[in-house]
């Protein structure tokens, strides 16, 4: 546990000691602001909720989360520090979990900095704050799922750009499987059971509940299993590299 903590600390310090982190935070906040208030028609909706804010998250994270996670393993492999890290008395799973947690915390910080949106709706109206809390929780898990997938793609290559593109593509599949235009298209020729099965693999389907203020155990299990599966795959990929 100590080892995990040490690596998390190192990763976080490394995030915040580079200007990239601050650039990312600013871009993240600008984009959430833009999507919520301009593209999301926040004011025209006439309701005190953050639906306009959370609704965009699956799409926003599609680009931003892979940008945070793409360096995680690709950089370690490229610079040779992977050899250093894995010859320390550290079990590979500890390193994998620690690096994932550090990036997840970083995204959590970015998400927490959107608190002015919460203040805004509370000033303007009387929103259901429980729903907002559920939305934030769902959003955080959504980011975690994307991030774990990015961990996996980052372990596949030494090249951060390749890792970025691969994870965008994979995450896009997870969105599209439950995206209404796609499910409608699918429903025209496939039987409803198949459509539901495909949609069940989508992050959008599982994120919906959180947005409506429902914290469903099944949705949590879904996100946690995506994270667990992707991190497990990361472990296998790294073991594969070491075996040569």
């Amino acid at each position: 546990m100590r080892v995990v903590f040490t690596i998390v600390k190192r990763e976080l310090v490394s995030y915040f000691s580079s200007p990239v982190a601050y650039v990312f935070l600013v871009i993240f906040l600008l984009l959430t602001g833009f999507f919520t208030f301009t593209a999301g028609n926040f004011f025209e909706r006439g309701e005190a909720s953050l639906a306009a804010f959370f609704g965009w998250h699956p799409w926003l994270y599609l680009v931003l989360v892979p940008a945070v996670g793409m360096r995680l393993w690709a950089e370690e492999r490229r610079s040779g520090t992977l050899e250093l890290l894995l010859t320390m008395p550290v079990a590979p799973w500890q390193a994998i979990v620690a690096k994932f947690l550090a990036s997840w915390i970083f995204i959590g910080v970015a998400l927490a900095l959107t608190f002015p949106a919460v203040i805004t709706v509370n000033v303007l109206g009387d929103p259901d704050n429980g729903m907002i809390v559920a939305g934030y929780l769902g959003s955080f898990f959504l980011a975690g799922a994307y991030l774990a997938i990015t961990c996996m793609t980052s372990a596949m290559t030494r090249n951060q750009v390749v890792a970025f593109i691969l994870s965008v593509v994979l995450c896009l599949f997870l969105i599209l499987a439950g995206f209404n235009p796609v499910t409608d298209l699918l429903a025209r020729w496939a039987n409803p059971a198949l459509v539901d099965t495909v949609a069940a693999f989508s992050v959008v389907t599982h994120f919906d509940g959180f947005q409506r203020g429902v914290i469903d155990l099944r949705d949590l299990v879904f996100f946690l299993s995506v994270i667990g599966f992707a991190l497990f795959a990361t472990g296998l990929i790294i073991r594969g590299h070491r075996a040569g």
């Binding site: 190192r10 520090t81 250093l84 010859t87 008395p89």
Partner: protein
Amino acid sequence: MIRIDNLVKSFGAKRAVDGISFTVERGEVLGFLGPNGAGKSTTMRMITGFMPPTEGSVAVGGFDVAESPLEAKRLIGYLPENAAAYPDMTVEGFLNFAAELRGLSGAARRKGLHRVIERCFLDAVLHQSIDTLSKGYKHRTCLAQALIHDPDVLIMDEPTDGLDPNQKHEVRNLIRELGRNNKAIVFSTHILEEVDAACTRAIIIDRGRIVANGTPEELRAMSEIAGAVTLQARGATAERLSELGRVEKLNGAFRIYPKDKSRQAQLAQEVVEMVNLHGWKVEGMYSERGELDEVFRRITLPDTVKK
């Protein structure tokens, strides 16, 4: 401390390491020699637990690296090839990170840090970030990381690569000193003078196999010219000298090879007697100890290239 048993590593069809066995005891400094691509780095990566072997086993301090990797890794300090370190960290931050991963905390960590900073001369760059360091400092930072927990086993992949002659000298002295401190040390190099400068024993590997294993003296004795006498004397002739053994003419000197290895010891005496008998004027005379690079070339070159 290190016991390697029939180690094999295959990459696809290629056997990078092909059945290597050796042991290293405390107090030994083992030089690991071989041409590029001979399997030196791969062997070291298996010793340090970075790569699992295809066959065979490695035990460090009695712990099998495959079965109890954490216990084995705790005993090892490792300087990887090219001295990798996190470029965005400061030297101090990096060493603290290494110390914490090694389970050092509080006073023990400060002590360890202090020791390696002094030993690797890192005082001046402590608060500098690693990507701004010169190659020599970067190298020493990574070496400091390997020493921070005062390990019993030290594995170094080309510890003097890319250093200037003064730094090379420092690192060799450090290796020798650590060897005297009862540690088991393995380092790879392709600089032969380093073997003389720092090793108690050397192993030469070629295409994944051990081709020679012995003290630097023993390896040198494998040289063709070992035991020969080189004589530079006015009046000396090859005809006369050939009574003692095969004679090779060098410029202005003769090299006499003993007729067989058992007569090596008497050869110098016999040459002196012949010199006295004929009244030659000696300008120089010495017994050859053998040359490591000749041995190295002879046993690592493919047969077709030899001679």
